[in-house]
Amino acid sequence: MIDRRGVLLAGAALAGGRVSRARAAEPIKLGLVAALSGASAKSGEGIARGLQVAIDEVNAAGGLLGGRMLELVRRDDESNPGKGQAAARELIDREGVAALFGGIDSPVSLAIVPLANQTKTPFMGVWAAATNITRNGAEPNYVFRVSAVDVLVDKRLVKHAMGTFNAKSLGLILVNNAWGESNQAGLTAAAAEAGIKVAGVEKFGEADADMLPQLQRLRAAGADCLVLVGNAAPGAQVMKSLQRGAWSVPVVSHWGISGGRFPELAGSWAGRVHFVQTYSFFGPQGAVGKRVAAAMMARYPDVKGLGDITPPVGVANAYDAAHLVAKGIAQAGSTEGPKLREGLLAIDRHDGLIKSYVKPFSPGNHDALDENDYVMVKYNGESIEPVSG
């Protein structure tokens, strides 16, 4: 007993000395607001698992600020921005979370951004890729991200379409929501920059069952490569509709399709899509990759193989983001928002799963990943494997 208290005191002293014993026992809460139900439930589950594995590692190493354990508090946003903002408020005001993590839906994240800045609570995006989530114009800006940025992903997708598929005319098929809009802007700009024509832009609803009419419009407009932005269920409908129309056009996709059971839902044409990921658990793995895969299998009984670590992007981004936040807290020596924000900006180096981060955040750039960190992959059965190019 005395030994343990001694260790705690020593830890407290190391972490800045001002932490009282009573507070040392108090956990540091980290909040997650993500889709835990509905069509994108799988994404929220993946994020939660990535965060949890990282948190377990931090806690196993003795926690932060003198032995305070990290604790994950999750809330379902039902993909509804109103619900998401209310949940974020609750986490900030009632649970007193030190930082918030976001989910797959850009509209929800966009609704939380002003709240985060107003309440000075660091908000870490781990999936939603809308450009203006981090580039929101606030000063000081409390929003960070370990995920793709649409404008950068869009450049990569256009590059892949031109390089791998020799595309001359792009057909955009986008989900009809904020995320689709963000990518419409990004893809149009990227295409203009790369000097490639956009044959047409078509939208589909989250619950649409038949995309053939939209695809026929793109086909008639002369598209020779499709760029798909959408989540797994409607994304699968796009592939089924393509199959039905017997239009074997190449498809490059944003990573939304990896947020659910895309291979099951899309059937035999699932493997035709090349899509972007930040990380793949297949192929040669570094030490961190092996460790995370082992931890996932140990903690979650339904993870029996690498292919069960789904969606990999959610797990990987969340894992790295949680560690970066932990580093930021350690750096700041405090869980107070403004200090944590400074702490995040002051992180010098972090050996993460996706890459080794060097100065991941700076006042001008709150996005830890850039276009060099994206890999193009495709489904092979249920698992995801890299494609060359």
């Binding site: 009809n176 053939l212 939209q214 026929q216 419009r217 699968a236 017997a246 059971r261």
Partner: protein
Amino acid sequence: MLETALVSGLGSGSVYGLIALGFTLTFAVSGTVNFAQGSSMMLGAVVCHALAVGWRWPYAAAVPVALVACALWGAVVERLAVRPFVRRGSDAWLMATVALGIVLDNAVMALFGKEPRSLPSSLADEPIVWGEVGVFPLQLLIPAVLLAVALGLHWALRRTGLGLRLRAAVENADAARLMGIDVVRLVALTFAAAAALAGLGGILVAPLFNVAYDMGTLFGVKAFAVAILGGLTRPWGVVAAGLAYGLVEAGTTVWLGSGATQIITFSAVILALAAAPAGVFGRGRVRV
């Protein structure tokens, strides 16, 4: 483009028609409907998925069992959410059926999971292709099933004893009771049949779409619009309205883009009702 609109429109329109036929059945006999028909549709698809994929039953066994499950559900809806309120002379069955639909949707969410799943079918695997238009055999089967069901219903109503009793109950429930017809049971039967029809629609559309606990909501709403446009008590009107709705939907998507689809179709519903308030409810409710 035209072919696409036709194929897509007839396929989805047929599913709306199937679900909407259920509305006409119950409405004609009892003046009530299961407002949560979409949930019955979902139940058919989910039970079929659980049996065919989860337990690896052959479809020949899974589909009938799923339909029976739907029929039982329909009878439960009638017993719990319709009959008690009709007895009281209350309109609350409308909300009660909605409530029961919410209960079913969320119970299924708890049991089946939140994620959409796919129902594999050899009929939705390899398309038949003509030029730029491809159809899954299933897409051709759905309108055929709708037509067969409508013809079968037509035949059964005209040529069987049960059909005759049903028509008698539609025309004059009290007189039918005096003929020894158990109208209460007949109403329960129509609710069961309606749910089974919706379940059939769900099973048919599942391989083209996917199976999810919330898949029925939008289908149910559209099918109700179809039932109302078709005139609620006229089966053939409903079949025609279903196909027309599907075609307008697909046509709008093809020629105006998908963003306009719901605005156009639902505006059409409002305008149609304003121009021709079929008034079955409206007139029936005013007692002079």
